[in-house]
């Protein structure tokens, strides 16, 4: 039994990697623009479907879909930015409804193109077992966990060291002061949407490589990303990673100890618990409470 639990912890950890990428995309855009992109999960799913097409249509390894997914998802994300930027008033409320609408468009677009069937990878290379001491996983899980860590390290470097990254942070902490320093907020907003697109593209290919996808899954992904940001607080990258791993572990444990049907309920339970006990998140962030 304890072996099973350890195995569940390990799977949860690996799963947490790509969850973190989705949540970071959501948090980054929210930080830069005070807009929650409800279509973030659909962007991830779009990338997953591109990986599916590359594999089933061209017979290539889904990893090779990353360049195409990057282009398509980043363009879509930029498009979301341009539409959101056209909102004239009540941006907080209207941007929610707007991105919800974009999510509906994407979900149904994917339904039209790829049909409602559940898809998963058939690549043997991806599904090969990877043994690490007492732990088992698929090769793809370990591969993409590594990729996620690299992406997060890259994002951390970008936000703290590069000019654009620092500009994004400057705008999110004080918009007017950033303007006075010669930063164009519109530009950093666009950049944050594109970076969120990059994260979504990788997360999507990862999702397809070790899991199953269907057009309705995008909304669930957005909710998961949101739960992680509630757990973590929007502030820090390590916080989001810990929140994501917590969610992954909670889900994996539920699947092992109870049933797979209750998997999603685990995340919700965790979410409610944090909301009741620590309304500011595990790593404390202000401004979320009314």
């Amino acid at each position: 039994m304890s072996e099973l639990i350890l195995q569940a912890l390990y799977s949860g950890l690996l799963q947490g990697g790509s969850y973190a990428l989705i949540a970071l995309g959501l948090a980054l855009v929210f930080g830069a623009m005070r807009v929650i992109n409800l279509a973030q999960g659909e962007l991830v799913l779009l990338s997953a479907y591109i990986a599916y097409s590359v594999e089933s249509g061209l017979g290539l390894n889904p990893v090779l879909a990353i360049p195409i997914a990057l282009v398509v998802v980043c363009l879509t994300s930029a498009l979301v930015y341009f539409v959101v930027g056209r909102i004239k008033k009540d941006r907080e409320i209207n941007s929610l409804i707007l991105t919800y609408g974009i999510g509906v468009i994407l979900t149904n677009g994917m339904l039209l193109v790829w049909k409602a069937d559940i898809r998963s990878t058939s690549s043997e290379w991806m599904q090969e077992a990877f043994v690490l001491g007492p732990f088992y996983s698929m090769r793809s899980e370990v591969l993409f966990f590594g990729v996620s860590l690299l992406m997060m390290a890259g994002l951390w470097w970008w936000l703290s060291r590069s000019w654009y990254g620092r500009a994004v942070r400057a705008v999110s902490s004080n918009r007017d002061a950033a303007k006075l320093m010669g930063i164009n907020p519109g530009y950093t907003e666009l950049v944050s949407f594109i970076v969120a697109g990059i994260l979504a593209a990788f997360a999507g290919v990862a999702l397809f490589s070790y899991g199953v996808i269907s057009p309705a899954y995008g909304g669930v992904l957005t909710v998961k990303a949101f739960i992680i940001t509630v757990l973590a607080g929007v502030g820090s990258i390590p916080g989001v990673l810990i929140g994501a791993v917590l969610l992954g572990v909670a889900e994996a444990l539920t699947v092992t100890l109870a049933s797979s049907a209750l998997q999603e309920l685990a995340g919700m339970g965790l979410f409610l618990l944090v909301l009741f006990i620590m309304p500011n998140g595990l790593f404390g962030v202000r401004g979320r409470r009314g």
């Binding site: 409800l38 409804i97 919800y100 609408g101 509906v104 468009i105 409602a116 409610l272 409470r289 009314g290």
Partner: protein, 334 residues
């Protein structure tokens, strides 16, 4: 001068009253022409169901200042509560309808902690809640029949010789439900609570300072909205006599009402209902024929276009256009 404005106000009131009466006559009389046509009647019933949800959604959005993506939860909980009560406990259907609303209200009680969260967080949290209720309905098989669903839910009864389970009977039931809700909504908006809520919309902090308990008020709006949506869900369950989790908690019960409310203008009372009829009929008669499997695509596009070009709804936009002409001609006369 003040008499003039008074007269103007009276005239406006009279005009809106006649317009309301005309609308009512259209709602009651129009369908009588189609009473024999089952297809038309079922479209009308379905569009009024959407109208009821849209109205409850708009109440929360307009008075409470909260955007909900979780109304499918209230709809589904209302439907299941009413269906289970009438099937397993023999509660009369019309009573069960109301209890369905109460069930949704209880579900909303569980959502009250979410009120601690501000704008976007609230919207997402309520979305998460909707998922919880769908999973519960699927997993609690002994009560809800699981994913297989419930069939043979008792139909609406015959009352005073009127068969409410027929298409036209059902239409009048849902029409009365929506009308009663609209009246409650209107009364509420005119009351002191409405005033406080409007003030809250301007500045929540300022209203708190003058002694309005904004959290309690918002909570009340959430409960009322949930109750309304639950009654509509309960009606729908008895009307179609069948329920399954994927249907009862479908995202459709969120998407179409939101599109309808935004389309008709969610800050008015008639807007969401008129919007629902227009959007639902467009969806069923036009979009569905063009793209059978992903017709919601068009609804999403409509939503995006409305928010970008006319976030207060199409009706206010048209009204503004006409009003512009009207006042200009008056100026020309004087």
């Amino acid at each position: 001068m003040s008499m003039m404005t008074n007269m103007n106000a009276n005239m406006n009131e009279n005009m809106s009253k006649t317009r309301l009466l005309a609308l009512l006559a259209l709602c009651v009389g129009g369908p009588l022409l189609f009473a024999q046509d089952h297809y038309v009647m079922s479209l009308l019933v379905a569009s009024m169901v959407i109208g009821g949800i849209a109205l409850s959604w708009a109440l929360l959005g307009n008075l409470g200042g909260m955007i909900s993506f979780g109304h499918a939860a209230f709809f589904g909980v209302g439907a299941y509560t009413s269906a289970v009560l009438s099937m397993k406990f023999g509660v009369p259907v019309l009573v069960a309808l109301l209890l369905g609303g109460v069930g949704a209200l209880v579900a909303a009680l569980a959502m009250l902690p979410v009120l601690r969260l501000r704008g976007p967080y609230f919207a997402l949290a309520i979305l998460a809640y909707a998922h919880i209720f769908r999973i519960l309905a699927t997993e609690w098989t002994s009560m809800t029949g699981g994913s297989g669903g419930l069939s043979n839910i008792p139909p609406l009864p015959t009352l005073l010789g009127l068969d409410l389970s027929s298409k036209s009977g059902a239409y009048f039931v849902i029409l009365s439900i929506v009308l009663v809700f609209a009246v409650i909504y209107a009364r509420l908006r005119e009351s002191h609570y409405g005033l406080a809520l409007r003030a809250m919309h301007e500045s929540e902090d300022a209203t708190r300072v003058v002694g309005v308990n904004s959290v309690v008020l918002k909570g009340m709006m959430l409960l009322l909205s949930a109750f309304m949506c639950g009654v509509v869900g309960a009606f729908n369950a008895h009307y179609i006599s069948f329920l399954e989790p994927d249907y009862a908690f479908s995202a459709l019960w969120v998407t179409i009402p939101i599109v309808a409310a935004i389309f008709g203008g969610y800050r008015s009372i008639t807007g969401p209902v008129v919007g629902a009829v227009v959007v639902y009929l467009l969806d069923q008669l036009v979009f569905k024929n063009i793209i059978p499997s992903g017709h919601q695509l068009v609804l999403g596009g409509l939503l995006v276009a409305m928010i970008v070009f006319s976030p207060d709804g199409l009706l206010p936009l048209l009204r503004k256009l006409f009003k512009g002409k009207f006042t200009r001609s008056k100026h020309a006369a004087t």
